[in-house]
Subunit: 227 residues, 2 copies
């Protein structure tokens, strides 16, 4: 069987296409061309055609894409037709904020449990989600069929927590702890790093901009650097 | 003057390169080739050369990049040599979690103030950051020279909050409210959407994988979809 690694950038783009198509569907649109999609949402039409062609022939010449069909296909490709159960480790500010995060439900993820080591927190609820003792992690994962773990603990505990997660058989991990964790075996880790978003804002603030919000070609920046 | 839009994907990659170079510097490395950088951090070496060449000639034939030099250049390009002051609107779970977020300081951003409408919260502190009345937003922005706003309010308030931010003269906004906000005029908005990270995990869980963690080429997926 042919094995190939699909880049995360590709799956990220598929997520974005799906979001755009949901938007168009909500507005009552039935079809859209790759050019139309690109123009409306500031995407690249050649990239759209390439990305989608990779997963099959979705477009119809002269029509473009049937929005409902393409949404169904993308939902299936992204595995969003199946429900996933999420366990969040760390019931601090970030963990409890994430338990509330609307995006989970929107993408067919439901938060089943929070975990913490703090005895004062255990047994409390955040909305409908109970905080469990981290010591009962393996049992609770089994009981609630948790298949996605979210790490929301301070950096120094993240590696230990990852070990517990891996031992419990969970294969998908979202890491908010501010250290990049490396996957072991067939576990997939998604490190969420807000610093990258911040730095793109910083770049924007650092550059002189014209009135259309366009950014100057960095020949200027280049010469500045060389000074 | 030539004006061109630099893609956010490019600035995101520059952020990642900077992170990798910091890592290498911490390990005592002095130089690195684009191939070495790509191999170590699972990046694309041709892309690295292209991205960096765009901002000037940083590489030295036969040597690669001088790590310290390149870090300095990237820090300057990304505007990270200047301090930015952040105001977070919404002192709920997410807002207060963000006030604690270590990544801000790491990227030369310091959180100066939280804002909320809840009278019970106003005057309280999260770490060293005070919660101010949203009614005093404009004055507080001026007083603390806040140049970056973070929106951490429920979706239904986000548009109004954006208006207040825009009126106060702030040009860079990070939006965590679960609706995409569009920039007006020369304001730059970065919508942070955790759903995209989630969906890439979902994709991973949906695909059969081999023992090396590689994902099967989606010919299989294609035929499954056609069933």
């Amino acid at each position: 069987m042919k094995v190939e690694k699909i880049s995360e950038l590709t799956t990220n783009r598929l997520s974005i296409y799906l979001r755009c198509l949901n938007d168009l569907a909500a507005q009552g649109a039935k079809t859209v061309s790759s050019d139309g999609l690109a123009k409306k949402f500031h995407l690249n039409s050649a990239q759209i055609r390439k990305d989608l062609a990779y997963f099959g022939e979705f477009g119809v010449r002269g029509v473009g894409y049937y929005i409902d069909d393409l949404r169904k296909h993308l939902t299936k490709i992204l595995g969003l037709d199946k429900k996933h159960c999420v366990g969040i480790i760390g019931a601090g500010r970030l963990g409890t904020a994430l338990a509330d995060y609307y995006g989970f439900a929107q993408s067919n993820f439901s938060v089943a449990a929070l975990f913490d080591a703090d005895q004062d927190k255990i047994g409390q609820k955040v909305g409908t989600v109970e905080i469990f003792d981290i010591k009962s992690f393996a049992e609770t994962v089994k009981k609630y069929k948790i298949d996605v773990a979210v790490i929301a603990v301070p950096a120094e505990f993240a590696q230990d927590v990852l070990e517990q997660i891996t031992n419990s058989g969970i294969k998908a991990v979202m890491n908010f702890a501010p250290i990049p964790l490396r996957a072991k075996g067939d576990v997939k880790i998604k490190n969420v790093d807000l610093t990258i978003s911040l730095e793109s804002l910083s770049y924007f603030l650092a550059k002189p901009s014209n009135k259309n919000g366009k950014i100057l070609k960095p020949n200027a920046a280049k010469s500045r650097i060389k000074q």
